[in-house]
Amino acid sequence: MKPAKPNPEPARIPLLSEIPVASSNQLCPGCLLSVTSLSVDDVSSILRLATELESEQPELRARRLAHRRIALLFYESSTRTRTSFELAAKGLGADTALISSQSSSIEKGESLKDTGITLRALGAECIILRHLSSGAPYLLAKVTGLPVLNAGDGMHEHPSQALLDVRTMIQALARPEDVPGGNLLSGVKVVITGDILHSRVARSNALLLPKLGARVILCGPPALLPEVAEELGPGITIERDFDRALGQAEIVMMLRIQRERLAGLHIDLDEYMARYQLNQGRLRSYGPKAIVMHPGPMIRGLEISSEVADGPQSVIALQVRNGVAIRMALIYRALECRRVQPAHKETTKPRFAAKRKRGRA
């Protein structure tokens, strides 16, 4: 943690007695662990907040969470997610500390629970977690009582990615951000193609988009897209023929084959590319107007060709940019939720009372 800068207010190091003890199963309301916990109204308010924060003057914005402490706990490598969470936190004025599994006591065998408790004792008010193991954020949220933001857990979910994808879709389709009833993407057909089985991005999008009125068409070979994927929720169908799927789509989202998670599964890449690669020829024939998305990292020449990734239909860079705005909103929501509706009333109230005045602009 960076030492707190000279500040009109005293340094915010909580006394040990003030640190809430993890006892109940109740998760802090500022958590975002799965998109399934988000109502349509939640999504709308996150989108509005993202826009509000993004358009705010940087100096004003930097006062919102001035010197509040946020820990970025990364058990897996990341470029986009880590950087955008970090920039988002810093944009709001927060102090951030990055802990990665390779250069911390995690290497010495410290458990996730103890790592979380240590970060809380160091004053972290929110932990952003990327972990190899599905469900790890639930454990961290339970044992720390802190708001935890899931920055990708195993094959489970990547909720902030789904939200930034929603924002990108709305912008690319030139739809209003505010629709009564929350049908932000009503009637929109989104094709998600590739390694669905191992993709947390696919799960979060497939669970979230239908809530907002979209239809999700999953596409890929049976080894990477089991039939059971259709049972994720309503509004999801499987189409094995990519050309046919592309023909119906307003939006096509391509996914990387996750070699690190294949676990002995053998995929014939030549055949895969012939059937599922999004290249210029295929896009021109079947999706001349489709918006092209990719959560990254891309393997150019495998699931997507360079011409398509860099082409006029691609909004991949816009997705990355939206990551900062969405993550500002999520961090702000995490800390504000904690303030307004503390999970541990008796201990958290006095800690934040002094801050309340300069919270909202």
Partner: protein
């Protein structure tokens, strides 16, 4: 040895066909007499017996659990034989059969004897189940004859299935010669690598790799084929903790064909489904995993129609720090000795109208006879004085914090239970008494 008169209770002893009010005289660790109410009073006075008033309660042969993990030797921080059998006594069990996945693995006469020593401070009779192969490595058979002579009642590599056909074939043949069953943990581990729950829609949504039903049923079918090849050798295959309808169908079919196949089911497999995993609850993680509702119903049907021989808990204690981990990293297993009777009475007796006699058959008579535990699972004259006295109508709430086990890894914390154990007597000794 003290003499005990249990008076005024309703005796349920399926082995003797008794389901009526009877008094019971226990003497020198054995059942001395069973008579209609009042007839033993004089005899009891002569021997100055302690009198236990069991009016309104069921008196039954002590429950027999043929599948527990007592963790000793080697993992005393999870459980010891003393704490595990104390939990057993609190749950009404007087006999437990301890699996060999200890540290070191119980593949020897020495450990088999060590586990049965009075120095362990047991509150219930412990019968070891010895490893079927050396170190449970699945490569070379252990000495079944001498293990049996030392007290082992079966062989198993529980937790590690015997995958090799040749070894399983040898094991079944050797166990038949020794007159004991081979207990198989039926899981084709070639299909379950990296898996931590049941395969299906929920596993897909949670991003967890799932164990397919076929991993269990496939191995049960394979073992039954091997058993058929040994026809005439009197080999006995016992399938541990059955969890799928497909595997149960294979068992039913084999029995129709005259093969000696038996099976057990754990309470959690007929009470819970995979939905209990919820938000990665590691106390709902075990192997075999909680299955779909259709499989849970199949387990219930198997219990109702008699194709499942007995209920066994697969009591598997783990320390808090082991269960407080990422779901995929947390060890498999839950404790079960103290909740088995309460769950079974509630679901099978109250909800599904299974008679008490049938229930005691599943929890005591049949498990005892399945492993040839002579004098157990029965209250006939001359049997061991192993008795459970319970109030079949008492409703209570199970609290994991109050467990007698060293571990509290149970998904049933806070659950309503039916039927409260009032007293447990092991070989004439009162080993559990409910708080007044």
């Amino acid at each position: 040895m003290t003499t005990l008169l249990i008076r005024g209770g309703h005796l349920v002893d399926p082995s003797a066909g008794v389901d009526a009010n009877r008094d019971l005289l226990l003497k020198d660790g054995r059942v001395a007499a069973v008579e209609p109410p009042g007839k033993l009073t004089a005899a009891a006075k002569q021997t100055s017996a302690e009198v236990v008033d069991a009016a309104g309660f069921v008196v039954a042969p002590g429950l027999v659990d043929i599948h527990v993990h007592l963790r000793e030797p080697g993992q005393g921080y999870k459980e010891t034989i003393a704490t595990g059998t104390a939990a057993a006594a609190a749950g009404g069990f007087t006999t437990v059969c301890a699996m060999p996945n200890t540290h070191p693995v119980n593949d020897s006469v020495e450990i088999t004897r060590w586990m049965q020593s009075a120095d362990r401070g047991p509150s219930a009779r412990v019968f070891p189940i010895a490893a079927a192969t050396r170190g449970s490595m699945g490569e070379a058979l252990t000495e079944y004859g001498s293990l049996k002579a030392a007290g082992a009642v079966a062989v198993s590599d529980d937790g590690k299935p015997i995958l090799s056909e040749a070894i399983m074939h040898q094991a079944l043949a050797a166990a038949a010669r020794a007159g004991i069953p081979v207990i198989q943990h039926a899981e084709d581990t070639r299909l379950t690598g990296g898996c931590s729950m049941n395969a299906g829609a929920l596993a897909f949504r949670l991003g967890l790799r799932g164990m397919p039903v076929a991993a269990e049923s496939g191995l049960v079918e394979r073992d039954i084929r091997l058993l058929a090849e040994l026809r005439g050798a009197r080999a006995h295959l016992h399938v541990a903790h059955l969890s799928t309808g497909a595997a149960l169908d294979a068992v039913r079919k084999a029995r129709r064909n005259g093969l000696h196949v038996t099976c057990e089911v754990a309470p959690h497999h007929f009470v819970l489904t995979e939905q209990a995993v919820g938000e990665y609850n590691t106390n709902a993680k075990m192997n075999p995993p909680l299955r779909a509702e259709s499989d849970r119903r199949a387990m219930l049907e198997g219990l109702l129609d008699g194709s499942i021989d007995c209920i066994a808990t697969d009591h598997a204690p783990h320390a808090t720090h082991e269960k407080e981990q990422e779901f995929e990293r947390a060890p498999n297993g839950i404790t079960g000795l103290e909740s088995a009777l309460g769950l079974t009475l509630d679901l099978l007796h109250r909800k599904h109208k299974v008679s008490l006699s049938r229930l005691i058959t599943l929890l005591s008579t049949q498990p005892a006879s399945l492993l040839s535990l002579r004098g157990r699972g029965s209250l006939g004259t001359g049997s061991f004085a192993d008795v459970v006295i319970f109030d079949p109508k008492a409703e209570w709430v199970f609290r994991a914090a109050k467990t007698r086990s060293k571990s509290a890894n149970t998904p049933f914390d806070g659950w309503n239970m039916l039927g409260r154990v009032q007293m447990t007597i092991s070989e004439g000794r009162v080993v559990y008494r409910a708080d007044a």
